[in-house]
């Protein structure tokens, strides 16, 4: 198998006006992986995807996709990349069947079975007009159109955005069922961390246009730890903790979330002389929220007198 990354960027940067929306992005997406691209709204995920597909000119830096320069993607490269856009836009006047017919004429490897399978999964009538479809149905149709050419690389920009849980589940099922092939790579952005947890091998996290994490899902989850400390009175002031993401003070409890938890971190926390100190289990969603939430200390103590014994 070719070990060359499917997507590779070097110092990829995009400014809108004077504002950097993607800052010095260095990313490698391994072949055959399911790669989740995460970040809050406006962190630069869609902009990155659009740059990768040559739909947006980078301000500086470079990148390649399937070995082709992203600034000059030839048609043969596009034939190998399936792209599902964020808002599932299609020609409203076309019927489901016409959409398939239109798309199929551009792709010699068009697989009608896959297309029918996906639209069947979403219970779409071939004669239904796109403008009459619900958001979820349109997403299903878009997925069918993206999968049927059997692309080598699938880029999905927040495919579940705006979908209800049932439609979202259908979409994820389709993705898993129809795209799990050893040589196929899926690169998708999402806010649905449960989906990410189910399907992704790797994640990359953009925080305010800067890439802060790029690792296997498990590595991310294991890097983020939550420690609960109980005190007899109000928790003491927190010293500087390396890798601190959030500290949450409530009553006699202090919850600290940090990355790269180490012996040194433990010693700093022990120095606070807690009555009890324990490591709390954390889900990917919690880890992600802590990671991308506001940094620093939060307190829910109303006044010092209330917490006195």
């Amino acid at each position: 198998m070719n070990e060359q990354p499917v997507i590779q960027t070097r110092s990829l940067t995009k400014y809108f006006g004077a504002k950097p929306v993607v800052h010095d992005l260095n990313l490698e997406v391994p072949r055959g992986s399911v790669f989740a691209f995460l970040g809050r709204n406006g962190s630069g995920k869609t902009t990155t995807i659009r740059m990768l597909l040559g739909l947006l000119e980078p301000t500086r830096g470079e990148g390649s996709i399937l070995g082709y320069d992203i600034r000059a993607l030839p048609p043969e490269a596009r034939a190998r990349i399936g792209y599902l856009t964020e808002e599932h836009q299609l020609y409203g006047w076309m019927s489901v069947k016409e959409c398939g017919g239109f798309q199929s004429q551009f792709y010699p490897r068009w697989n009608e079975k896959i297309f029918r399978g996906v639209i069947g999964h979403f219970s779409l009538k071939p004669t239904a007009r796109v403008k009459d479809l619900s958001r979820g149905e349109r997403a299903g149709l878009c997925l069918g159109l993206t999968l049927a050419p059997e692309p080598e690389l699938l880029i999905l920009d927040d495919p579940a955005m705006g979908l209800d849980p049932v439609a979202r589940r259908s979409l994820v099922e389709s993705m898993i069922y129809l795209t799990r092939r050893s040589d196929r790579t899926i690169f998708f952005s999402s806010h649905q961390l449960a989906d990410v947890e189910r399907v992704a091998d790797y994640i990359a996290v953009l925080d305010h246009s800067v890439l802060r994490a790029c690792c296997p899902v498990e590595a991310f989850r294991s890097s983020v730890k939550e420690v609960r400390l109980r005190f007899s009175g109000a928790p003491p002031a927190l010293p500087k903790i390396p890798g601190l993401l959030q500290a949450f003070r409530a009553e006699r409890e202090l919850r600290v979330t940090c990355v790269h938890y180490s012996r040194a971190t433990e010693q700093v926390l022990q120095a606070l002389a807690p009555l009890q100190m324990e490591m709390a289990p954390i889900s990917l969603e919690d880890a992600f929220i802590s990671y991308l939430g506001e940094r620093g200390e939060k307190s829910f103590i109303l006044s010092e007198t209330e917490v006195q014994p």
Binding site: E57, G61, E76, T85, E86, A213, C214, P216
Partner: protein, 688 residues
């Protein structure tokens, strides 16, 4: 590409049907306009209107076609982009395994197909109807349809301009529509007075090619300037420059007009007054001095004011007009040949007369009067110097082209060859010779004189040696030598005075001869009387002409702001006699324009280029462009370039543009984002 064409055709089907309906309505209106007129003429309800004789040249079809082609073309082009205005739908379109060039061609082929069917089909049907004998009682030549063809072609320019407007991503929102400026100029090419068909066609095709190239480039960069192929950038810049030039010209014109209105002395001074000779009904000559925002003054040839005895003051314009001789007619000399050679739109035929059952026109192609039956609208025969013939060319005998308007209010009653004047009796389809020249004499011009409405009183005949006044039956009233002689004196006028049988002949110098003589050639006036011949003669001194002053008028001042490339284009039109238009000063305007560009626009462009951190090569290229294109070039530069953000370089502390890999001042790299200690990076392995 086939799928793309089919999609575009389907997507714009409603617009195509709407266009087809609108153009069909226009054609039907033109058809009804013509047939209605002919029916009324046949029933005697109204007289024939010469300007509506040939429907393919009528104002209704030409104005209607111009408006509809412009609107339909622009809307169609714009809609083809607007349909995919959503960012994701555009991405869906362009992210398919075909090149952007193929997507461009797919859209354009479908768009032009729609345009040709919706706009072209009704027009072609209309032309075919007009061309089939028995439908239109007037001469028909395919060349007559060129006006419609040019307008149709201009619609294609607007199609691309509409597309460019929809496609362009611009920093200044309004500058998106600047491409329409070039399309507008292409439309104006139709009415350049002296251009021939091939010149119009070449310029239109070049303009359309520039717009198409700009659109093609836009498809490669999703409407941005950056990221386009060089050819696309050139096309876009050229299109935007013309549009910016047009906007700048109108803004400057409005500004000057406002200034001129509120501060007249700023632009006008005494030296901008000019004068003309006027004759009163009793044959006295006065000089009228006008201009300079002052009421006209009237003085006699000695310079004494013309005093109105009733008021005791200088006579005013109204009173002078009451006393002026208003029966003055110019006799065109050699105009027939010139007008045929250089006229846009060309004159193919002239309405001559209508008898109760026949329409007679002078057809330039055959040099004969051709008749069409009003009832059947079919050709019935032609009349030449040798009489009537059943065919168009007769025995090859031809008249000279009449020196009159295309659709004269009072058609001339005589026709001429180089040596004879004829009177046509079209009721009887016969021709009668009124006058034949003496040996070695050639007729230079002849004009019929109608002193009272449509009553034909005289015909003036000018040969190289004499000027004669003839009665309608060919009798010579007087004959006087052509002095000063042709060709230095080629502007002849005749004034009929109040006293019966008295008239005055004016012999004025030609512009070129007068200019060579520094505008000092006199004008000869000869007074003549019936049966007496020449009564007296005088030479009037050269006049203070407006063209001899520089600068004058708002337009001349705006002209100095025009880019040097404009002047180059003007002088490249080899048929344009610039020296005749701006005598003695023709070289000053380009020089001022070049100086303004070199001293203002090039330095301004250079400074902006530094702000954009352009490479030296790009700076030099733009400098040449600004030198040639002046302020429109600078505006185009600002509207196509995207203003790059700048940030402080951590190494040299100077502001540097963010779209370079290294600092343009010190060459330092950009620093990576600062780490905050929460980074999680692990090497990723390919999934097996």
């Amino acid at each position: 590409m086939k799928a793309l064409i089919q999609k575009e055709l389907r997507e714009n089907l409603k617009l195509a049907v709407l266009g087809l309906i609108v153009f069909t309505v226009l054609v039907m209106l033109s058809w009804r306009d013509y047939t209605g007129m002919m029916k009324d003429v046949l029933l005697g309800l109204r007289s024939l209107e010469g300007y509506r004789l040939q429907p393919v040249e009528s104002g209704l079809i030409l104005v209607g076609t111009a408006w509809l082609c412009v609107i339909f073309g622009a809307v169609l082009g714009w809609m083809q982009i607007f349909n995919e205005r959503h960012r994701d739908l555009w991405a869906f379109l362009v992210h398919r395994p075909v090149s952007r060039t193929q997507i461009f061609f797919g859209k354009v082929i479908a768009g032009l197909g729609i345009y040709i069917v919706a706009a072209g089909l009704p027009l072609v049907c209309f032309i075919a109807w007009a061309g089939i004998p028995g439908h239109v009682a007037a001469p028909f030549q395919w060349a007559m349809t060129l006006q419609i063809a040019w307008l149709f072609l201009a619609g294609i320019a607007f199609y691309f301009a509409g597309m460019l407007t929809g496609l362009r991503q611009a920093r200044w929102y309004a500058s998106r529509a600047l491409g329409l400026g070039l399309a507008f100029m292409i439309l104006l090419v139709n009415v350049v007075p002296n251009w021939r068909s091939w010149q119009i066609l070449v310029v239109m095709l070049i303009g359309i090619a520039i717009l198409a190239t700009a659109v093609w480039g836009g498809f490669h960069s999703d409407g941005h300037y950056k990221g386009q192929p060089m050819l696309g950038k050139l096309g876009l810049t050229a299109s935007i420059t013309v549009g910016a030039g047009l906007v700048a010209f109108f803004v400057a014109f409005l500004a000057f007009a406002l200034l001129d209105n509120f501060l007249p002395n700023l632009f006008n001074s005494d030296n901008q007054r000019w004068s003309a000779h006027m004759m009163t009904k009793d044959g006295t000559i006065y000089k009228e001095i006008q201009g300079g925002h002052r009421p006209p003054e009237f003085v006699d040839l000695d310079g004494k004011p013309f005093i109105d005895v009733k008021t005791g003051r200088m006579i005013d314009l109204e009173e002078f007009n009451r006393r002026a001789c208003n029966k003055t007619t110019s006799i065109p000399i050699d105009c027939g040949k010139q007008s045929l050679k250089r006229r846009n739109p060309p004159t193919f035929f002239t309405f001559y007369q209508a008898t109760p059952d026949t329409i007679w026109c002078y057809w330039n192609r055959y040099g004969r009067l051709v008749g069409y039956d009003i009832a059947t609208r079919r050709f019935i025969g032609s009349v030449g110097p040798n009489g009537f013939a059943n065919d168009l060319s007769g025995g090859g005998d031809r008249f000279n082209t009449p020196d009159q308007d295309r659709y004269p209010s009072v058609p001339s009653r005589t026709l001429r060859t180089a040596t004879a004047i004829y009177r046509a009796d079209l009721q009887n389809r016969a021709i009668r010779t009124l006058f034949t020249t003496e040996k070695d004499e050639t007729i230079l011009g002849a004009t019929d004189i109608f002193l009272n409405d449509n009553d034909w009183d005289y015909t003036v005949v000018v040969t190289k040696r004499f000027v004669r006044l003839l009665t309608p039956d060919g009798k010579v009233v007087w004959k006087t030598p052509y002095e000063p002689a042709h060709p230095d004196y080629n502007r002849i006028q005749i004034s009929f005075l109040e006293a019966p049988g008295q008239s005055a002949l004016w012999f004025a110098p030609s512009h070129s001869a007068n200019r060579k003589a520094d505008w000092k050639l006199p004008t000869r006036v000869t007074w003549l009387a019936r049966d007496q011949g020449v009564v007296k003669s005088t030479d009037l001194p050269g006049l203070n002409l407006p063209r001899s002053k520089f600068p004058h008028g708002i337009a001349m001042k705006i002209s100095s702001l025009l880019p040097p490339a404009f002047w180059a284009a003007v002088y490249l039109d080899l048929d344009l006699n610039v020296d005749e238009i701006w005598p003695a000063y023709w070289w000053i305007l380009p020089l001022i324009s070049l100086a303004v560009a070199a001293l203002v626009w090039v330095p301004a462009g250079w400074w902006l280029g530094r702000r954009y951190s352009l490479t030296l090569q790009a700076q030099l290229g733009w400098a040449v462009f600004h030198l040639l294109c002046g302020i429109p070039g600078l505006l185009a530069f600002l509207s196509v370039q995207e203003w790059p953000a700048r940030e402080s370089c951590p190494n040299c502390k100077k502001l540097r543009v963010v779209d370079r890999e290294h600092c343009e001042h010190c060459g330092a790299d950009f620093a990576p984002p600062e780490k905050n200690g929460t980074e999680i990076f692990e090497p990723l392995a390919a999934v097996k």
